[in-house]
C-alpha cells in the first residue's frame, strides 16, 4: 500500500502488477482444464484484439523465454536446445522455447504451458515465422502468418488516403477476416464485432495512459527507469492488453508515477545523467546493467524498446475507432507495425526526437549476440547521432537471456569509460 499526497491509501502498482502477472500465469495453467482455447502469439503484430474477442488465453513464448532469463533458469533451457542440435547462434528466445518443449512444458514460473489451439506469427521479425514452424512440427498446430507490410524507405510511410496505404490496409484486413474464420472454426463461436469494439476501447485507454506514463519520464529527475521498472510495466501491458484489468493497472501506474513527481522523487537519488537505451534488454543481467549506470547517477529516461515491445502502440497517437472495429484494427495494425521493428533501420529520427524530449545526455546501444536483426542498424544509427548531434553514445553487447555472453569486467569497463566521457563533456560545457 502506498500513501498518496491526499493521504488516501491504495494498492501500489508494483503489487498490482505482480498480482496480474501471477493471475495471468494461473489462467494459462488452468486454461485447458477450463476448456478455454489457448493462442500462442508474439508481442509484435499479433491481432490480440480478435483473439480476446473469441475468449482465447494468450501465451507469449517470447515472454516465457525472457522469464527463464529473469528467473536465472535460462542456461538449462538453452543447453537442452543446444544438446538437441540447435546452434548457439540461434536466437536465444527460440532456444529457450525449444528447451521448454524438451522440459515437458514445465516453465520455471511453475506454470505448465499448455499447447496451442492457434498460433499466430507475423512478418515483423524474420525469426517469428521459422519459430512458428517449430510449433507446427512439435504440436501439430498450423501457424497463421500475418503478413504486415513494413516501412519501405526512410521517411516514407504510406499515409491514410494514399493508394499504397489503401492497398496495404485491404491486404491486412483480408488476412484478419481469414483469421476470424479460423477462430470461429476453433472455438465454435460466431465473431462478435461488439465484443471486438469493447476490447479496442480498453486498448485505446491503455495506450492513452501508457503514452502519458512514457511522457511523465521527461520529468527531471526521472520517476522510473525505463529499462528496469519499464520492463515490468510493459510485461503487464502486453499480457493484459484489451482488458479492464489492464486499464485499471495503467491508471494506477500513471497515478503512482505522477505522485512520485509531485513528491520530487526520482528513480536515482542523485540523477546526474539522463540516458536513452536503444535495443533489447539483457533480461538475465538487466538489474546488474542498470546498477552499473545508476552507480554513476545515470538513469534510462526513455527507451525505444518500450515502443517496439508494445507492438508499435505507444506514443504514435494511433487509436482504434470502435464504431468500425475490424477496419480500424486493419488500419492501426498497418500503421503501428511501421513504427515497430520494421522501422528499426530508420529509428534514428525517433531517437533524435527522444533525445530532445527527454533532455538526454547520451544514448546506450545494446547489441544482442544471438539476434543480428536488432543489431543491424545500430552502427549507422550511432554514426548519425554522434556526427549530427555530437551526442556521446556507448555500444555494449551481450544477449537477451544467455549469460555466457555477459562479461562483467568488460561491460563495467565500457560503462565507466562512458561516464568519464560524460563527465569530461559536462566539465567542458561548464559543469552541471
Amino acid at each position: 500500500m502506498a500513501e498518496t499526497p491526499s493521504g488516501v491509501l491504495r494498492v501500489d502498482a508494483r503489487a498490482a502488477g505482480q498480482r496480474l502477472v501471477n493471475q495471468w500465469l494461473a489462467n494459462i495453467h488452468t486454461a485447458p482444464a477450463r476448456g478455454q482455447p489457448v493462442a500462442y502469439i508474439f508481442v509484435m503484430g499479433n491481432a490480440i484484439e480478435i483473439l480476446r474477442s473469441f475468449g482465447f488465453e494468450m501465451v507469449f513464448p517470447e515472454i516465457n523465454s525472457l522469464q527463464t532469463g529473469v528467473r536465472k533458469a535460462a542456461p538449462d533451457f538453452l543447453a537442452k536446445a543446444e544438446d538437441y542440435g540447435f546452434s548457439p547462434d540461434v536466437c536465444s528466445y527460440v532456444k529457450a522455447d525449444v528447451g521448454l518443449m524438451l522440459s515437458n512444458m514445465e516453465h520455471p514460473s511453475g506454470t505448465h504451458m499448455p499447447t496451442p489451439d492457434l498460433a499466430i506469427a507475423s512478418s515483423l521479425c524474420n525469426v517469428y515465422i521459422k519459430w512458428a514452424e517449430i510449433w507446427e512440427r512439435r504440436f501439430g498446430t498450423p501457424a497463421f502468418v500475418l503478413d504486415i507490410p513494413g516501412k519501405r524507405f526512410e521517411s516514407w510511410r504510406p499515409l491514410p488516403g494514399t493508394p499504397q496505404y489503401e492497398a496495404d490496409k485491404r491486404w491486412v484486413e483480408g488476412q484478419l477476416r481469414d483469421l476470424i474464420a479460423r477462430c470461429e472454426d476453433i472455438t465454435g463461436k460466431k465473431f462478435d464485432p461488439d465484443r471486438l469494439a469493447e476490447v479496442e476501447t480498453h486498448v485505446n485507454e491503455m495506450v492513452r495512459l501508457w503514452t502519458e506514463i512514457l511522457q511523465l519520464n521527461q520529468h527531471r529527475p526521472a520517476p522510473y527507469n525505463s529499462m528496469l521498472d519499464g520492463l515490468t510495466y510493459i510485461g503487464v501491458l502486453n499480457a493484459w492488453r484489451g482488458t479492464p484489468e489492464g486499464v485499471e493497472y495503467m491508471r494506477l501506474l500513471r497515478d503512482e508515477v505522477a505522485d512520485k513527481i509531485a513528491r520530487g522523487e526520482g528513480r536515482v537519488p542523485n540523477e546526474r545523467f539522463r540516458l536513452i537505451f536503444s535495443g533489447t534488454p539483457c533480461y538475465v543481467n538487466m538489474r546488474r546493467l542498470v546498477e552499473l549506470f545508476e552507480s554513476h547517477g545515470g538513469v534510462f529516461a526513455a527507451s525505444d524498446y518500450l515502443t517496439y515491445a508494445a507492438g508499435g502502440l505507444d506514443s504514435s497517437g494511433l487509436f482504434y475507432d470502435p464504431s468500425r472495429p475490424l477496419e480500424s484494427l486493419a488500419e492501426v495494425t498497418t500503421l503501428a507495425s511501421q513504427l515497430g521493428l520494421s522501422n528499426h533501420f530508420f529509428s534514428h529520427h525517433t531517437l533524435a526526437r527522444q533525445v530532445k524530449e527527454y533532455a538526454a545526455d547520451g544514448i546506450v546501444y545494446h547489441g544482442i549476440k544471438s539476434c543480428r536483426t536488432v543489431a543491424t542498424s545500430m552502427a549507422d544509427n550511432r554514426e548519425y547521432v554522434t556526427s549530427r548531434y555530437g551526442l556521446p553514445t556507448l555500444y555494449i553487447e551481450s544477449d537477451l537471456i544467455d549469460p555466457r555472453y555477459w562479461s562483467d569486467a568488460q561491460i563495467k569497463n565500457r560503462v565507466d569509460a562512458f561516464f568519464e566521457v560524460l563527465e569530461q563533456r559536462s566539465l567542458l560545457d561548464g559543469g552541471q
Binding site: 569497463n413 569509460a417 566521457v421
Partner: protein, 272 residues
C-alpha cells in the same frame, strides 16, 4: 617537490610511472602479472618508488587504471584505460585526434576532441582477435620470444594469408602453414597483417581522423607499426613510452588531483 604515480594493471602486465610536479617521468617499472593482480600492483608500485628513489609518503596522489584498477588498494582514484591512453597520447602528441591502443587482450580505438577529451571509443568484444594475445599465440606456436616476432616478420618475402580470427585456432593454423613448408617469417607477416586489418576496422569505426597515435605494448612492434600505416594509409605517432601510455595518463590524472589539493583516499578493493 610533489610526486605522483600512475599504475596500469592490464591483463598481462603491470606498469607504473612516477612523475614530478613538472610532469617529468622520474621512474617507471614493468612486470608480468602471474596470479594475483593485487600483489602485482603493490610490487610494481614498490619498484617504481625504488627506481625514482622515493618513499610512499612522498607520493601526493596515485591513480590506478587498467582492468585491475580496483585491485590497486593503495590507489586514490580509478580511471579507465580509455581515458588514460587518450590523456597520455595527447600529452605527448597534442594534435592526436585518434588513439589506437593494442594491449594484451583488449584493443581500443579512441576518438579525442580538441581539448583532449574522449569523444567516442570502440573496443574488441568478447574475443581476443586483433589483440596482443594473437601475437602471444604465434609466440607460443613458433617457440619464439614476443620481442623477436616483429623483426622476423619484417624479413618476410611471401606473406601467407591467415584466415582465422580466433586466437585459439590461430595456433593450429600457424602449425598447419609451417607443416606445408611456409617460412616462419612469412607466417608471422600474415599474423601481423591479420591484426592490423582488425585494428584498422576498429579505428574506422570511431572515424579515421589524423593524427593517429599508436599506444600499448604492441606499439613497440615495428612490423605492426609499418603494417598499420600501410592499412590506414597515414603515418602513426609512436612514442618510445607507448607501452607505458596508460600509466602515464593515469599519472597525469593523479597530477591534476594533487595540483587541485585533493587528499589521498585509498580505494576499497572491489571484488570483480
Amino acid at each position: 617537490m610533489l610526486y605522483v604515480v600512475g599504475v596500469d594493471i592490464g591483463s598481462t602486465q603491470a606498469k607504473a610511472v612516477a612523475l614530478d610536479e613538472r610532469a617529468q617521468i622520474v621512474g617507471q617499472a614493468l612486470l608480468d602479472i602471474e596470479m594475483n593482480m593485487g600483489s602485482a600492483a603493490q610490487e610494481v608500485f614498490d619498484q617504481v618508488l625504488r627506481v625514482a628513489g622515493l618513499s610512499e609518503s612522498e607520493i601526493a596522489f596515485t591513480v590506478a587504471t587498467g582492468y585491475g584498477r580496483y585491485r590497486v588498494t593503495f590507489g586514490d582514484a580509478q580511471v579507465t584505460e580509455i581515458s588514460c591512453h587518450a590523456r597520455g597520447a595527447t600529452a605527448e602528441f597534442p594534435r592526436t585526434r585518434t588513439v589506437l591502443d593494442i594491449g594484451g587482450q583488449d584493443t581500443k580505438a579512441i576518438r579525442v576532441g580538441d581539448a583532449g577529451e574522449v569523444m567516442d571509443f570502440a573496443m574488441n568484444d568478447k574475443c581476443a582477435a586483433g589483440t596482443g594475445r594473437f601475437l602471444g599465440a604465434a609466440s607460443f606456436a613458433l617457440e619464439l620470444p614476443l620481442s623477436d616476432l616483429g623483426p622476423l616478420a619484417m624479413q618476410a618475402t611471401a606473406p601467407v594469408k591467415i584466415t582465422t580470427t580466433c586466437t585459439v585456432f590461430a595456433e593450429s593454423e600457424i602449425i598447419g602453414h609451417l607443416a606445408k613448408g611456409h617460412r616462419a617469417e612469412d607466417v608471422l607477416a600474415g599474423m601481423h597483417y591479420s591484426i592490423a586489418t582488425r585494428c584498422a576496422s576498429l579505428v574506422r569505426r570511431v572515424g579515421l581522423t589524423p593524427e593517429i597515435t599508436f599506444t600499448g605494448g604492441v606499439s613497440r612492434n615495428a612490423a605492426m607499426v609499418t603494417l598499420l600505416q600501410q592499412v590506414l594509409g597515414m603515418p602513426l605517432n609512436v612514442s618510445a613510452q607507448g607501452h607505458f601510455m596508460g600509466a602515464i595518463g593515469a599519472a597525469l590524472y593523479a597530477l591534476d588531483h594533487a595540483r587541485a589539493g585533493h587528499p589521498r583516499a585509498r580505494a576499497e578493493e572491489v571484488p570483480s
